[in-house]
């Protein structure tokens, strides 16, 4: 058995160096050469400043923007570092609500949000993704129904005809891959950037 001790040390260190350093560093080099934009995090710049990532959702509260899904991400409480406070779309601490199917807290939160949305647009059914938090708290997308639901509010806030906003939503709707994989969706940040571009003209 003693002859097994040398490989347990030397082979472990050698394989660790290969898989833990050589492999990730080589991948970093190749990825940055082949796919520099993705490797950096698919960042979006506007006037030379980073406004976010195409893949990471951000919080929108103003009426003139389409809103993403509720987010359950947290951040350390600035007053007491042992506690956490709600910090929607905190992209340095991803996570979901973890509220279960019989949670009273979830039932109350859903009711409150549904009532708010019904008041905003009484004519349409409330889409489920607009009141549920995502798994990461950073979901960049909403369903096409959730985008259409918000059209009247956005159009009113921007003094734009509803049809024009609706059309913009349709042109930003991505379908399933090959008509099969995934779900139809609208990237909220991309849609809002498009709205701002129209406004700038």
């Amino acid at each position: 058995m003693l002859r097994e001790i040398r490989p347990a040390i030397v082979l472990l260190l050698a394989l660790t160096a290969i898989t833990g350093l050589a492999y990730p560093l080589a991948m970093t080099g190749i990825a940055e050469a082949l796919f520099p934009a993705q490797a950096q995090g698919s960042l979006i710049e506007k006037d030379g400043k980073v406004v976010g990532s195409a893949l990471i959702g951000q919080e929108f509260k103003e009426d003139k923007y389409f809103h993403g899904r509720p987010s359950a991400t947290l951040a350390p409480d600035p007053n007491d570092s042992t506690k956490t406070v709600s910090a929607p779309y905190n992209a340095a601490n991803s996570g979901g609500s973890n509220l279960g199917p019989t949670s009273k807290a979830l039932a109350d939160r859903l009711k409150e949000d549904v009532d708010k949305l019904k008041a905003e647009n009484p004519n349409a059914a409330v889409p489920v993704d607009l009141v549920t938090t995502s798994g990461s708290g950073l979901d960049p997308d909403i369903s096409p129904e959730a985008a259409q639901f918000q059209v009247p509010r956005v159009a009113k806030a921007r003094n734009m005809p509803e049809d024009q906003v609706k059309q913009l939503v349709t042109s930003h709707t991505e379908g399933r891959l090959l008509g099969l994989l995934g779900e139809p969706r609208v990237n909220v940040l991309a849609l809002n950037l498009a709205l701002d571009r129209i406004a700038a003209k």
């Binding site: 058995m1 001790i5 040398r6 040390i9 082979l11 260190l13 394989l15 660790t16 290969i18 898989t19 492999y23 990730p24 991948m27 990825a31 082949l34 796919f35 993705q38 490797a39 950096q40 995090g41 698919s42 960042l43 990471i56 919080e59 923007y65 779309y89 992209a91 340095a92 601490n93 991803s94 996570g95 609500s97 973890n98 509220l99 279960g100 199917p101 019989t102 949670s103 009273k104 039932a107 009711k111 549904v114 059914a125 489920v128 993704d129 549920t132 995502s134 798994g135 990461s136 979901d139 960049p140 909403i142 399933r176 891959l177 099969l180 994989l181 995934g182 779900e183 940040l189 701002d196």
Partner: protein
């Protein structure tokens, strides 16, 4: 449930089955030490590794030596991770300035990664440096996976050899698995993931100013290289806290589909390796069929339950299924499918929060793990777990007809059956025993995030997941406290090694036996009767051990929900 949803599930199953044969052919060549198309590049590296570490690749090991070598390898792996986590503040590649990780959390995490569990009591982006992610966690993702595969191959050799004292050489199996199987696939796979949008950088976290003028710190890092092996090696430990739900860790529907395929690819191919090595590929297909029956049944239940939604959602006229904790780009079907796959295998990556699943939708992941993750299972671990159940099933069949049971030409006798039962019984001891402690110990009770039966499910899930070396969680539970860090580590340790050692004892005992040619009285182990028998034995043993615990958790929660209760 929709037609498009079921088409995605069928396409997934078809590709997994189609990949099993070519990958099984390639892996058989690798573990038989034959030349492969990668040999011109990799053979010099392989020979160099043996030379510096003093390994004689021609010298085979007795099962006990093989097991001791594996254990020594893990002691070293444990020390590397523990040391790196404690010292990360002093080491390079730490742009976010992470401080030393606490002793109990480092201990839990080190055990978690050497046992291929990857239970996360730490939050990736908020706790550990890039160096720990690469040198500590990525390396152990490779090596714990390679170890599992090596052990499965050693057990297969036990079945396929006759009258021999040895089962292979651990160092050679681990090295060849890492170099010829895991690394080449990961290189291509990681680049594919970057192309899909996954970051791969050593740069700082990005400071963005949102359209509404708020500050957003965006965590990035060398994600793709780690995610590739995390899925392929059924490790599951996420780069980010939200794991594969995080858009950087799973950017598109395509990246999600390929990640699901990579969880099952090696485990499914190992059934083919088994068939090839024992000289009849149909033996492998029969085992894959047992796994397939249990898998599809689980997918159907979870998909139905999630698409159906909850009473709370129905009361508010919200249709479209239970989207709490799920991402829009995956929707109900890809989230349900992923949850069943990740717990059938011992992966534990999640693309949706299992804690927010419906009671029945979340019960299937629990059952998958409590059965010992034998439905494809962890790379290697799934096959040797399943072969333990096969031993029991063959024994039961032998009792029914009054003959000494045989499997692939080997007589299954008292020693093999005792070892198989030991491995199968030690798992419930851990997850039921610690759950019983967890629901009465006040500090542990205070860690539950949900009240009512769901809180019980959270604790049961935590210990089940760790015992089964899965690593997924009902994430609301605050796991990072001394109690859970220590009890969890013990569950992961026992769940891994008390399954491995009996399995290796069986390998050694079988390798020494003669092979008997099949006769008219031999129970055929390639047909539907055998598949049905094994499925039955699995469900009976499983049902008797954990059904009472499920009744206290998900089942009573489902009934309470239908009665309109919230907690």
């Amino acid at each position: 449930m929709t037609v498009i949803g079921w088409l995605q599930i069928i396409l997934y199953c078809a590709i997994v089955v189609a990949l099993a044969k070519p990958l099984g052919w390639y892996m058989t060549r690798v573990f038989n030490g034959e030349r492969t198309f990668l040999s011109p590049v990799l053979r010099p590296i392989e020979a160099g590794l043996y030379w510096i570490s003093g390994v004689d690749e021609k010298r085979e090991q007795h099962w006990l030596t093989y097991t001791v070598a594996m254990l020594l390898f893990h002691v070293g792996g444990f020390l590397i991770i523990y040391g790196l986590m404690r010292l990360q503040a002093l080491l390079p590649f730490n742009p976010a300035g992470q401080t030393a990780v606490a002793q109990d959390l480092s201990f839990n995490t080190a055990i978690s990664f050497i046992t291929n569990t990857n239970w996360q009591n730490y939050g990736g982006e908020s706790t550990v440096s890039y160096l720990v992610q690469m040198l500590g966690l990525t390396h152990q993702n490779f090596l714990s996976a390679a170890t599992g595969i090596a052990l499965a191959v050693a057990l297969i050799r036990g079945f396929s050899r006759a009258s021999m004292r040895t089962v292979g050489n651990f160092w050679v199996d681990v090295t060849r698995c890492t170099l010829y199987v895991l690394l080449p696939i990961c290189v291509v796979y990681a680049l594919f993931l970057v192309w899909q949008g996954m970051p791969q950088t050593l740069g700082d976290y990005v400071e963005a100013t949102t359209l509404e003028g708020a500050k957003q710190t965006i965590a990035v890092g060398p994600v793709a290289s780690q995610v590739a092996i995390k899925m392929l090696g059924t490790n599951g430990g996420g780069f980010f806290n939200a794991n594969a739900a995080h858009p950087f860790e799973n950017p598109t529907a395509l990246s999600n589909f390929v990640q699901m395929l990579s969880i099952f690819a090696i485990g499914a191919a190992l059934t083919n390796v088994f068939g090839r090595m024992v000289g009849n590929q149909r033996q492998g297909w029969a085992i894959l069929a047992v796994m397939g029956v249990l898998f599809v049944a689980g997918v159907a239940v979870t998909y139905w339950a999630e698409a159906n939604g909850t009473a709370t959602l129905h009361a508010l006229n919200l249709t479209g299924g239970n989207m709490e904790g799920k991402e829009v780009r995956f929707g109900i079907v890809a989230s349900s499918l992923f949850a069943v796959i990740t717990t059938a295998a011992s992966c534990g990556a999640v693309n949706a929060m299992h804690d927010s699943f419906t009671a029945l939708g979340g019960m299937i992941p629990l059952i998958n793990m409590q059965l010992g993750e034998i439905i494809i299972g962890g790379v290697g671990a799934g096959l040797y777990g399943m072969l333990l159940f096969v031993v029991i099933a063959i024994f039961v069949a032998g009792l029914m007809v009054g003959r000494t049971p045989e499997y692939v030409g080997k007589k299954i006798e008292a020693r093999e059956v005792k070892m198989a039962m030991l491995a199968i019984l030690v798992l419930p001891l851990m997850y039921l025993g610690w759950t019983a402690v967890g629901v009465v110990y006040p500090t542990a009770v205070a860690s539950m995030a949900n009240a009512g039966p769901h809180g019980f499910s959270e604790v049961l899930y935590a210990f089940t997941s760790q015992t089964a070396n899965n690593g997924s969680a009902f994430g609301g539970l605050t796991g990072n406290i001394l109690f859970y860090n220590l009890t969890g580590a013990s569950a992961m340790f026992v769940g891994r090694f008390f399954m491995i050692i009996p399995a290796m004892a069986i390998a050694g005992s079988l390798a020494g036996k003669k092979t008997h040619p099949p006769s008219a009285g031999t129970f055929p182990t390639t047909g539907g009767l055998f598949v049905g028998l094994v499925v039955g034995v699995i469900l009976i043993i499983g049902g008797l051990t954990f059904f009472p615990a499920l009744a206290l958790g998900p089942i009573v929660e489902h009934l309470a929900m239908n009665a309109g209760n919230v907690f």
